[in-house]
């Protein structure tokens, strides 16, 4: 069995340029997690169903397990690590409005689905800051959570809307819709 030789791929992650040597078969999820050590992006199924691996690529929510790293060449990638507003004076993580709403509404338990949920919701609200409950549920229906029953998650996303209505907060402005086709 011989595998094609590694290639270098260059893209922007959370505003910073990255260049990584990857095997062509490496997924973007594995590249982020293992090559770039951005382990906040999680992998729950590797077959495009659970949404845990969702990141934002050129403004669109994408399943990073269904994308090869080499396909991200030249793209702008946002991950959970870029969603906050940085560290506060005490060195603690300062939460962006969507993250803070998740905490307030107890929208997470084990936290494993959370990065994917946040990125999907961030992409949604960046484009549709007035999304109603049905729209939020629909948009999140491709992200599975086994702990919460989703109720707190939907409440949190709805509660975060004002911050987006005033212009996209946190990370980089996300434009574009949610990609359901993967």
């Amino acid at each position: 069995m011989s595998n094609p030789p590694p290639r270098t791929v260059r893209f922007t992650v959370n505003g910073k340029p990255a260049a990584v040597e990857v095997e062509p078969r490496l997924t973007l999820a594995d590249c982020l997690r293992h090559a770039l050590r951005l382990t906040g992006t999680h992998v729950g199924c590797e077959h495009g169903v659970c949404g845990a691996c969702t990141v934002i690529v050129d403004g669109r929510a994408m399943r990073s397990c269904l994308m090869l790293a080499v396909q991200a060449e030249g793209c702008t990638v946002e991950t959970i690590e870029g969603l906050g507003t940085g560290l506060d004076e005490g060195g603690a993580e300062a939460l962006g409005p969507l993250q803070a709403a998740f905490r307030r509404h107890h929208a997470l338990q084990c936290g494993f689905c959370t990065p994917g949920m946040l990125m999907t919701a961030h992409a949604l609200l960046s484009r549709e800051p007035d999304a109603d409950a049905d729209r939020v549920r629909e948009a999140l229906s491709g992200n599975l959570c086994r702990c919460t029953g989703y109720i707190g998650i939907v409440e949190a996303v709805l509660d975060a809307r004002p911050a987006y209505q005033a212009g996209a907060p946190g990370g980089q402005p996300a434009t574009g819709g949610i990609d359901r086709t993967g």
Partner: protein, 772 residues
């Protein structure tokens, strides 16, 4: 020290959330160490067969492969995984070897372990391992397992393990109840195989330190101390040379963290190769290899007077436990038998449950083990009986629900273990009436069975009790650090339920401190406390929390003793002031913290809580749904849960537990199903075929939690909670569907109630099609 309880009972935002929300959680796959190797399992693709040979030549020859281990490499005797709960010599004959030898008994059974430089190379190599199996006919259902024409374990001579009985009243009383009763009814019910499906698959990182001859294993959860002790036995090394490190964990629900073959294999490989080895399960593997649950069939019979008074309940059930008896395989059958009567007055009860093996993935306990199943059977039979007797379903339950003066009461005795126990406190009618009021039963019940805009409306209600706080004990240690903050160390383990927050609340209140004086909560891993008993049976909060209370008392003593020594007075003369900032006696006062403080080097105290009684939270669920007769589609309009947990530590996390559990129950009732074909191949091996609830499935669920009846069993008054949400769902939803389709006479006796099944039931009962 004063107990102010300013934090306990409050919806304190979780400490864990900060790291989880920013992508800084540390799940096992998030850790990497230099030079780490990667492991992959070779698993049986045949459900039942003679394992003739394994050819590893090609796999070993692949560049980057370090080792391929088969059972031959594990020494003269291949280790088997012993039972952890309710160990029993009869059942021990069905225990699983860590790698198959002689025979394979289910698709997914570990046959070999490949270790390579990268996960991709390990997977490539696994594909090159040749496994030669001579197929045998698989045993896939109850009938063929019981017939025993084909045996999984020839040496045992039967596919049937031990049978359990749960008994209240002697044999004569039970016979009399059924002989004399004017009304009896028997019915067969079935719950299907499904599973917990946490969003994080399993994984392990084992590191071997060749110099110190130490093994460090990360990724252990639930019962890390028990796993460590078993690993030590199986690897033949001292327990003290193993560090079990708890990682963040993407959901447990009872299934993650029992001892699995991989726990041994990955550790074994790390030691043998003298290197760190990581293994991360993929989703397909997870569906094949993580324990399955809930597959049970039961003939249940009820005896009543004509006014609806229950005289007796008896049943014969059989659990399909898959190919091997796993460490906690008995939990579900035991609860199934013992909890058959739930919170109702049932003077004579006899349940008999057989444990059968089959060529499917081994089964274990999943949230509300046995209780989900048994409550479904009981509540279904109650609705049928009430219908036969012409008694309103609510009146029937109200009549038979135990009254306040009947609690605590003795639970049925489980044989052959001889265990019984009794409930602790509560008023079951309180949650029952409240739940009816919350859903507006009175106004809505007229809709039941009626067709409105094409769909039929149905309602149902049911009650449960949930055992929690399993013993035997838990340990805690509180450290007053030199900087004046306190760290909390507990043997309970976290499975994503927010334990750090809850323990910080309890510790802060017990010490009279604000939350920000609690500098950290450490749990689960070995080395943190002497011993820990983990997270199972809704025990962590009650057991760990009570141990913290004990440690807080001891810390107070320790601080006083240290101050008394400084002041040259008796400890009784010392007063600790200002929220643990200073100590005073005989007109002098000194700070506790800081370089000149009394606790300049830190002072610690241990605590322990022992308990051999269990807590019993309880509650009532009600549902209002519609069924579309054209498609069989169920729409849940409203689902309400009212429960009493004795004392609420954090209402926010508790509601989260309840809502999450209800949705899991809805998944298990309406969607999820592990389906096998006639060859024993799992047909639902991905998330595209194993359907779990999504965000748009069940939007209308409410949880109301009461704390009217604290438990006398624990000093906190809290009862185990977290499983209750799942227990009633199957029965309540099935009954609501039966209520909606009453004009068709549909009786949903088997789960899951998927649209095709409901449609089929409608067709069959309206005589439109002839179905088997």
């Amino acid at each position: 020290m004063t107990r102010r309880d300013t934090l306990v009972g409050q919806p304190v935002e979780r400490l864990e959330d900060l790291r989880f929300l920013s992508g800084r959680g540390q799940y096992v796959d998030d850790r990497s160490v230099d030079g780490m190797l990667h492991a992959t399992l070779v698993r049986s693709t045949v459900a039942h067969g003679i394992l003739r040979s394994i050819d590893t030549t090609a796999a070993c020859a692949l560049p980057g492969v370090h080792a391929v281990y088969t059972a031959h490499d594990l020494g003269a005797k291949v280790p088997v995984i012993p039972m952890r709960m309710e160990a029993n010599a009869d059942l021990a004959r069905f225990e699983q070897p860590v790698l198959a030898h002689g025979k394979v008994r289910y698709v997914g059974e570990p046959v070999a372990l490949v270790v390579a430089d990268t996960a991709a190379i390990a997977e490539d190599a696994a594909g090159l391992v040749g496994v030669d199996v001579a197929s045998l006919p698989p045993v896939l259902d109850r009938a063929s397992s019981e017939r025993g024409e084909v045996l999984l374990f020839e040496a045992v001579g039967s596919n049937r393990g031990l049978s359990l009985q749960a008994i209240r009243g002697d044999a004569a009383a039970i016979d009399a109840a059924f002989q004399d009763a004017p009304y009896t009814r028997r019915r067969r019910f079935k719950v299907h195989r499904h599973t917990a499906l946490p969003m994080e698959t399993r994984g392990l990182l084992a590191e071997w330190d060749p110099v110190r001859q130490r093994l460090t294993v990360s990724g252990l959860v639930k019962v890390p101390f028990a796993i460590r002790s078993l690993l030590a036995t199986l690897l033949d090394m001292p327990e003290s040379a193993i560090d079990a490190v708890e990682s963040d964990c993407g959901g447990g629900f009872g299934m993650r963290g029992e001892f699995y073959p991989e726990d041994f294999l990955v550790s074994f490989a790390a030691r043998r190769l003298g290197q760190a080895v990581k293994w991360i399960e993929d989703r397909n593997e997870h569906l094949l290899a993580m324990t399955h649950a809930r597959e049970v069939e039961c003939d249940l019979e009820i005896a009543c007077d004509l006014d609806g008074t229950i005289r007796g309940l008896r049943g014969r059930g059989a659990y399909d436990l898959g190919a091997y008896i796993r460490p906690n395989a008995v939990t579900a059958p035991r609860n199934f038998a013992q909890m058959a009567g739930g919170p109702y007055r049932i003077p004579a009860l006899h349940m008999d449950v057989a444990m059968l093996v089959s060529n499917k993935t081994p089964a274990g306990s999943y949230r509300g083990p046995g209780r989900f199943e048994t409550d479904y059977f009981r509540e279904r039979l109650f609705d049928i009986a009430a219908g036969d007797l012409g008694i309103d379903r609510v009146a029937f339950r109200r009549h038979n629900l135990l009254r306040r003066h009947e609690v605590p009461g003795r639970l049925p005795v489980v044989m052959p273990y001889g265990t019984g126990g009794e409930t602790d406190s509560g008023d079951y009618h309180e949650t029952f009436e409240r739940c009816l009021a919350e859903i507006g039963w009175h106004d809505k019940v007229a809709l039941a069975g009626r067709q409105v805009d094409g769909v039929f409306h149905g309602l149902a209600v049911g009650s449960y009790i949930e055992g929690g706080a399993s013993g035997p004990r838990e340990h805690a240690r509180l450290v007053f650090e030199a900087d004046g903050r306190v760290t909390v160390h507990v043997g309970s383990s976290a499975v994503g339920q927010g334990l750090e927050t809850i323990f910080a609340q309890i510790a802060a209140d017990a010490l009279g401190l604000p939350m920000d004086r609690i500098a950290g909560v450490f749990h689960g891993s070995s080395g943190i406390v002497k011993m820990g008993y983990g997270s199972l049976g809704s025990r962590s909060t009650v057991m760990g929390g009570s141990a913290i209370l004990d440690a807080a008392k001891n810390l107070d003593h320790a601080l006083r003793a240290a101050a008394a020594a400084r002041f040259g007075c008796a400890p009784g003369e010392v007063s600790i002031e200002d929220g643990l900032r200073s100590a005073a006696a005989r007109g002098r006062s000194l700070p506790l913290a800081g370089p000149a403080g009394i606790a300049a080097d830190g002072i610690e105290a241990e605590g322990v809580f022992e308990n051999n009684r269990r807590t019993y939270s309880y509650g009532t669920h009600a549902a209002h749904l519609t069924v579309d007769p054209a498609t069989g589609q169920v729409r849940l309009l409203e689902y309400v849960s009212v429960e009493d947990v004795g004392r609420i530590i954090n209402p926010m996390t508790l509601h989260g537990q309840v809502l999450g559990a209800i949705v899991q129950g809805l998944g298990g009732t309406l969607l999820e199903h592990l389906v096998y074909d006639g060859q024993g191949q799992l047909l639902t091996g991905s998330l595209a075929s194993y359907l779990v609830p999504a965000a748009d499935d069940f939007p209308n669920i409410r949880s109301i939690v009461l704390e009217n009846h604290p438990s006398p069993v624990s000093p906190l008054g809290a009862k185990g909670a977290g499983e209750g949400g799942v227990i009633s769902v199957g029965g309540v939803v099935a009954n609501a569907i039966a209520s909606a389709l009453s004009s068709f006479g549909v009786q949903p006796d088997e789960l899951p109630l998927t649209p095709p099944r409901i449609w089929e039931l409608i067709q069959r009962s309206s005589g439109q099609v002839d179905l088997p």
